[in-house]
Subunit: 190 residues, 3 copies
Amino acid sequence: MEQPTKLVFFFLLVITCSSCGADASPKQHYKRVREPCKRLVFYFHDIIYNGENAKNATSAIVGTPAWGNRTILAGQNHFGDVVVFDDPITLDNNLHSPPVGRAQGFYIYDKKEVFTAWLGFSFAFNSTQHKGSINFAGADPLMNKTRDISVIGGTGDFFMTRGVATLSTDAFEGEVYFRLRVDVKLFECW
Amino acid sequence: MEQPTKLVFFFLLVITCSSCGADASPKQHYKRVREPCKRLVFYFHDIIYNGENAKNATSAIVGTPAWGNRTILAGQNHFGDVVVFDDPITLDNNLHSPPVGRAQGFYIYDKKEVFTAWLGFSFAFNSTQHKGSINFAGADPLMNKTRDISVIGGTGDFFMTRGVATLSTDAFEGEVYFRLRVDVKLFECW
Amino acid sequence: MEQPTKLVFFFLLVITCSSCGADASPKQHYKRVREPCKRLVFYFHDIIYNGENAKNATSAIVGTPAWGNRTILAGQNHFGDVVVFDDPITLDNNLHSPPVGRAQGFYIYDKKEVFTAWLGFSFAFNSTQHKGSINFAGADPLMNKTRDISVIGGTGDFFMTRGVATLSTDAFEGEVYFRLRVDVKLFECW
């Protein structure tokens, strides 16, 4: 009976040490598995104020370069326009679907030669399904079919989360309406 | 003497393995304990420039929607107003207490129907007590008694930190002065 | 033969437990080693639009306080000026070196008494060397020789990264051109 018992100890030790080695390396330079702990897909809908749509608008130009104005996006690929938004979030691509939250924050067009923006915003949820917020930041080279920004934190149901969100422009109409699809992939869940 | 020794080994193994199992799972999808590694409470004081208080003002409106101006917060719950600030941080709720640092950054009012803001700012410390910075971002639905934003990073004494900060409006006077209480709960400390 | 074997077990257990204790403590309050998993040095070059340099300008003032205008940085240490930029990134300090990416985002001068800014921006790479983005946020007290901001996330080659970036002003010419050296130290690499 004695040798088998020792063998069990030995195996337990090997298992224990190999997992510790992977994670408790003093330098923390191990490779982590890139599989999301949570994944969510949403759409949000942005209607920019153009001087005539005050009632429906969900966003407004609040900063412009010297050559711009606040009722129409500026020339040179809108370079320098700062837009503040409070956009409905829906589960499908229909603007009129019941919103499940609000996308709130700002984007800045930041390149003269091509459409490119920088985004800082949150998804704010307060429904039976989700409570709390997901915070995002990053560059959005919006002529690319898909582009990745960072999930930099979260609160409530998304406490301390981090990840990557893949954006794609699902639709746009002139320079007043656009719809973004956001594929939220969370890699740190608490 | 032999069986007790083995028993000790066994217990050690169980302890060892259970903690490794919790943390070193190859997918990193374990539940982490939500107890702060550091907790700090501060107040900061914002005095918005209104055209007449240049000397005392600690913040200024620097962007507005087309219908706004930069010496008074805009109608529609200030939607679209961008405010830059450099506010004193104090340990208690007295504006005239010796500041222990500065809260620096911006907020954007981002909703037409109700007061709501988006914040990007830092606490900058350079005292005997604290050196370094804590960086914050997130949505601030400021009609709620308390609301959580993300601590997205830090430097110096707060190197690489992450966490959640609970904001509450401690006081306000008209549309010129407000005081925020910030309960900083750090869950990643290096 | 029996006692030595047990001794080996004992040592293995001690090693195992000490590393687990360091990393897998249920409270996650261990000290991590502060050695970067990746380190990169870049320069970026900012040429502010001043009404006459439309062709060369890489940035523009898009928000100002009531007393400012958008073709020259405002008085009082530019307090309240919001600048949007799309700046070339180079590997050395030569503006005319081939750019390896773009620094895109914004900065806000946020203090009346001294030059201090708040930055939100990304390094966007799309070359054979680097693909993806690094996202930054933080306070930049730019009269200090060096100052640290946070790396709050990344995508592509810099997937999920976090760290600290040390900024230094490498050169400036009047109020139109400046060059920042950015020493990017990543402490979380996936």
